[in-house]
C-alpha cells in the first residue's frame, strides 16, 4: 500500500474543506447534546423517580444502530447536514447526560447546604456552586462525546454527508488507498487536537483543582 503524495498535494483544498465540515458536524452535535443534557440532568438529579427513566432512555437511544438512525430521520430532515447533526447528537446524550448527572451528584451535600444557609437561592446555587463543582466530571463526558462524534461523522457518508468519511467511499470505489489513509489520519488528528483543547479549557475553567504548593 503506497501513498500517492501528489494526490494529496493536489487535493489540499478539498482535504481542508472536508476537515472543517467534519469538525463542524461533530462539534455542533456535542454543543446541542450539552444544551439538551444540562436541563435533563438537572431534572434527573433533582427528581429521583425520573432519573432511571432518563438515563435508561439515553442508553436505549445509544443502542440504535447509527445507519438506522439516519434512515429513520430521512423523512423528517432529508439528506441534509441537519440529519447528520441530529443523529450524532442522540449518541452524545448517553455520555453527556450520565456524566452531568454524576457531576451534580458529586457536589458535597455540605457545600450545597452552606450555600443555602448563606441565603443563596436554588437557581443561583445551581449556576454558581453546583455546575462549577460538577465541571470536572461534565468535562470528562464532553471529551468522550467529542472524540466519539468525530469518529462517527464518517457514517453520515451514507446520506451524502460525512465530512472526511467521503474520502473512504471515494478510495474504496476507485480501489485507491491514498484518500482512505488521508481520511483516517486527519480524523485522528482532529480528535487529538480537539481533546487537547478541551483539556486546556478545563485547566483554565477549574483553577481550584490544580495541584499547587500550599
Amino acid at each position: 500500500m503506497t501513498i500517492d503524495w501528489s494526490w494529496i498535494a493536489d487535493h489540499t483544498d478539498d482535504l481542508t474543506t472536508l476537515s472543517v465540515s467534519h469538525l463542524q458536524a461533530a462539534l455542533s452535535a456535542v454543543f446541542l447534546g450539552l444544551l439538551i443534557s444540562l436541563p435533563l440532568a438537572v431534572i434527573a438529579h433533582r427528581i429521583r423517580p425520573l432519573r432511571g427513566f432518563l438515563l435508561g432512555l439515553s442508553n436505549v437511544l445509544f443502542t440504535i444502530p447509527s445507519i438506522a438512525i439516519f434512515v429513520l430521520l430521512l423523512p423528517v430532515s432529508g439528506l441534509t447536514r441537519t440529519t447528520t447533526v441530529i443523529g450524532l447528537t442522540i449518541y452524545t446524550l448517553v455520555v453527556l447526560l450520565r456524566n452531568t448527572v454524576e457531576g451534580l451528584d458529586s457536589v458535597p451535600a455540605k457545600t450545597k447546604e452552606a450555600a443555602k444557609a448563606m441565603g443563596t437561592r436554588p437557581l443561583r446555587t445551581l449556576l454558581t456552586v453546583e455546575l462549577p463543582l460538577a465541571l470536572p466530571v461534565i468535562m470528562a463526558g464532553v471529551r468522550i462525546a467529542t472524540v466519539m462524534s468525530i469518529s462517527l461523522v464518517s457514517v453520515a457518508t451514507y446520506i451524502g454527508d460525512g465530512g472526511l468519511g467521503q474520502l473512504f467511499t471515494d478510495g474504496f470505489q476507485r480501489n485507491f488507498p491514498t484518500p482512505v489513509i488521508a481520511g483516517v489520519v486527519l480524523t485522528l488528528l482532529l480528535a487529538l487536537v480537539a481533546d487537547a483543547l478541551l483539556v486546556a479549557l478545563q485547566y483554565v475553567l477549574t483553577p481550584w483543582t490544580r495541584k499547587r504548593g500550599a
Partner: protein, 393 residues
Amino acid sequence: MIQFEAVHKRFPNGTTAVHDLTLEMPEGGVTVLVGSSGCGKTTTLRMVNRMVEPTSGTIRVGGKDVLAQDAAELRRSIGYVIQQAGLFPHRTVLDNIATVPLLLGWGRRKARARAAELLETVGLAADTGKRFPHQLSGGQQQRVGVARALAADPPVLLMDEPFGAVDPVVRTQLQDELLRLQKELSKTIVFVTHDIDEAVRLGDRIAIFRTGGHLVQCAPPAELLASPADDFVTDFLGSERELKLLSLTPLKEVPQTRATPLRADEPVSAVSGDGGRWQLVTSAAGRPLGWLDTDALPATGTAGEAPLTPARALRDTDSLLSALNETIGSPSGCVVRVDADGAVTGVTAREEIHARATAAHAAAGAGAARTAGTAGSDSPAPTTTATPAEHPA
C-alpha cells in the same frame, strides 16, 4: 434576642426532634446548646434560620417572626458556621468570605475589601485570601468559616459544632479567638456542641437537651454546675463538675502574701533557713525561676546555679482550677503569682485556694449566677427549668 415559644418539630418519619421548646437567647450573649446526639440541639439551631421549619410554635429573631420573612433574605441576615467550615472548594478564600456581601449586592470591590479586612480580624495572613480552601489547614479553614459568617456584620451567629473537627490544641486556640472576637463584637451567638467543657468555656448560658428534644435546664454555667436540675444534668456534667466550676472562677480575688524571693545571683551561703524549707528564686527582672530546697543546699555557688524545682507562675486571669492544679505540684504548697509582665507579685497558700474554691461553690449554689468575670452579660439571668417533672429513667 432570639425567642422560642412552644416550638415543636416532628420529622415526616414520625420522630420528634424538638418537644415544646420555650427558650430565650439573650442579645449579645453566647447561648450554648448541649446534649448527646439526637437530642434536638442542631434542629433547634437550624430552625433559627429556617434550614428546618418548625411544625408548630413561634420563633422570633429581634422581635420578628422568622416564618413571616423571606427565607433567603433571613439567612443572609444571620451568620452561619458549620463543622469542617463547609467552604466552597471552587472559590478562593477571599471570595468565600465575600459570599453574603455579594448576595446582598454590595458589588465585587466593596465585598472583597470587606473580606480582606475580615481575614485580619480572624487572624489570617493577607496572602491566604488568594488560596483555595483545600490548601489550608483545618484550623485555618474554620477561621475562614467564621470570617464568612461575619462578612455582612449580622447581629446573630449560628455555630453548629464549628470546632468539632480540629485537634484539641487548635480547638483551644479557636475558642480563645472566638471569646476575644465576642468581647469586641457582642454578637448574639447560638452555639451547638456535645462537648460540655467547650460549653462551659464559651457559654454565657448553657441549655442542656435530652433525647426526644426536651430542654432540661438552661442557666449560666456557674449556676448549672453548682445546682444541676436533675440526675440527667448531673450525669451529663460529669464527675468533674466541681472542678469545672473552679475553671470559671478567676484567681484575681484570692489574696496573696508578699514574697521575699532570693535573687538568682545571691550566693547560697547567704541563704538563711528561717524562711521555710522552700525558697522562691527569681531572675534579676523578678521572673520566677523555681523553688530552692534549703535542706539540700549546695556548698558553693549562687541560688540560680543550685538545682531548682520549677514553678509555673499564675496571673490574676488564670482560674482557681489552674491554681489548685499548681498546688499539687508545688513542693512548698504555694502558687507563685505574677503580674501581666511575668514578674512575681506574691504567693498564695494551698489552704487559701481551697477556702476560696469552697466559697465559690457555695456562692454559685446559692443561685448567685455568675461568680466569674468571664465574658458575658453583667445582669444575672434566671434559671429556666423546662421540664422539672420529667426525670430520665
